[in-house]
């Protein structure tokens, strides 16, 4: 077997995950999205990161 089927299976799994996510999450709203860049936006940084503890 070559690497091609492995990649196809992996990309298919990611696509399925995205489809499940879009079906079960709140609808996307591009008009409520943050600006392109956090720097200069005036908004507080609020994304989740592996270095963060809850409430940190």
């Amino acid at each position: 077997m070559t690497r091609l089927p492995v990649v196809i299976a992996l990309l298919a799994a990611v696509a399925a995950l995205l489809a499940l996510d879009l079906a079960t999450s709140h609808p996307l709203d591009p008009f409520a999205a943050p600006p392109l860049m956090a720097l200069g936006s005036g908004q507080a940084s609020g994304g989740a990161h592996c270095a963060s503890l809850p409430g940190q």
């Binding site: 999450s25 592996c50 270095a51 409430g55």
Partner: protein, 374 residues
């Protein structure tokens, strides 16, 4: 030999490559249109990471292994240069924009150090760290592709139990900042590079052009990530989130976990992955690596087989990679790369513990059936 003219053989490949690049750009534009421009940009940055790391063979696990086994310093020196370049930009950016931008700062603690040690060991067993497992899986490496779902499960479980582990004892969060902090960070990075060069064998010290290019490109993308996302590059949060979202979709109640029940994470669980920073760059890493590998050889390399007990080891190590990286407040990216480049002392503690763990992981690998015994 074939009688087909060279142009006729190259043309379909060029068309295929152009189509693949076009599809990647369309995907980023679609995310920007559906979710917002920041999220489309983050997918593009993730694709850039994946293309650069796979295309230029820049990583963390392999260089540590080559330094320990073959006294080859080149990859380790490239890592230190890359982290140093990011630090030069990140320290002043964080100091002048403390509200809009945040560093990868976390406390040093017992579980953090133990987690980093286990992570270092397991990353040598599967030959893939946080970014490396995604990049390797994206390029068709079956060991990483098998390890990846268990990595995600481990990340979810580690996050679920994180507050119990941190309760074992942690120091307050400590981070270097300002010109003195930056100078100290650069000095420490230079010292690591200097030690690596000192122990290296002659002929294994000079960086090839591809590693210089990779260090510059990855550093540029990491700085762009900080500016666009407002936080440094990370990997493992996104993987745990994918499993948590799947668990919730199947009816699981995560309110028993202080981590997943925290307001910020509840919001992440309710919103789409297309608005989650680490999810987007993780997907970009996989797709970018697939693109680079396909570009290089059309993914025609044969997949290597292993005995059953080696696959069991891969599954266990994959799970432990995810679990331990949550206890360690990040993997080689979230803790080492982003922690050190934004001044967090936990990044240095992570490096010391994970490098020690790597030494044991390298010793363990042949006994697990993943390579011949020497």
């Amino acid at each position: 030999m074939t009688d087909t003219p060279l142009e006729a053989r190259i043309a379909p490949r060029l068309k295929g490559r152009a189509l693949a690049v076009l599809m990647a750009l369309v995907a980023a534009l679609a995310v920007a249109a559906l979710a917002g421009p920041r999220y489309g940009a983050l997918l593009l940055i993730g694709l850039g990471f994946g293309i650069a790391m796979e295309g230029l063979r820049f990583g963390f696990t392999g260089p540590w292994r080559r330094l320990i086994l073959f006294r080859d310093a080149t990859g380790m020196v490239a890592q230190m240069i890359c982290i140093g370049l990011v630090a030069v930009a990140a320290f002043p950016l964080l100091a002048s924009n403390p509200t809009e931008l945040s560093g990868a700062h976390a406390p040093v603690g017992y579980a953090m150090i133990g987690g980093a040690f286990v992570f270092g060991m397991c990353m040598q067993i599967v030959l893939g760290c946080g970014s490396g497992t995604l990049v390797n899986a994206g390029s068709g490496n079956i060991v990483s592709a098998v390890a990846l779902p268990f990595f995600a499960l481990g990340s979810f479980a580690g996050a679920y139990h994180l507050t119990w582990w941190t309760g074992l004892g942690s120091l307050p969060v400590a981070a270097l900042s300002g010109p003195f902090g930056l100078a100290l960070t650069l000095l420490a990075l230079a010292s690591v590079a200097g030690i690596a060069l000192a122990v290296a064998e002659p002929g294994k010290r000079k960086l090839p052009g591809r590693l210089w290019a990779a260090a510059l490109i990855v550093a540029g993308l990491a700085i762009l990530h900080l500016v666009v996302a407002g936080q440094p590059w990370g990997v493992v949060y996104g993987l745990g989130l994918w499993v948590a979202k799947g668990a919730v979709a199947l009816g699981a109640d995560l309110s028993g976990s202080p981590f997943w029940a925290a307001p910020g994470n509840v919001e992440r669980l309710e919103q789409s992955m297309l608005t989650d920073i680490t999810s987007l760059t993780d997907i970009g890493l996989i797709a970018g690596a697939a693109l680079a590998a396909w570009w290089r050889d059309g993914l025609t390399a044969r997949v290597k087989g292993h005995p059953v007990h080696a696959w069991v080891a891969v599954i266990v190590a994959g799970f432990l990679l995810g679990y331990s990286s949550r206890l360690a407040f990040g993997c080689n990216i979230g803790a080492l790369f982003s922690g050190v480049s934004t001044g967090s002392l936990h990044g240095w503690a992570w490096f010391a513990a994970a490098f020690t763990g790597s030494w044991y992981g390298i010793k363990l690998r042949p006994y697990l059936g993943l390579e011949p015994r020497r």
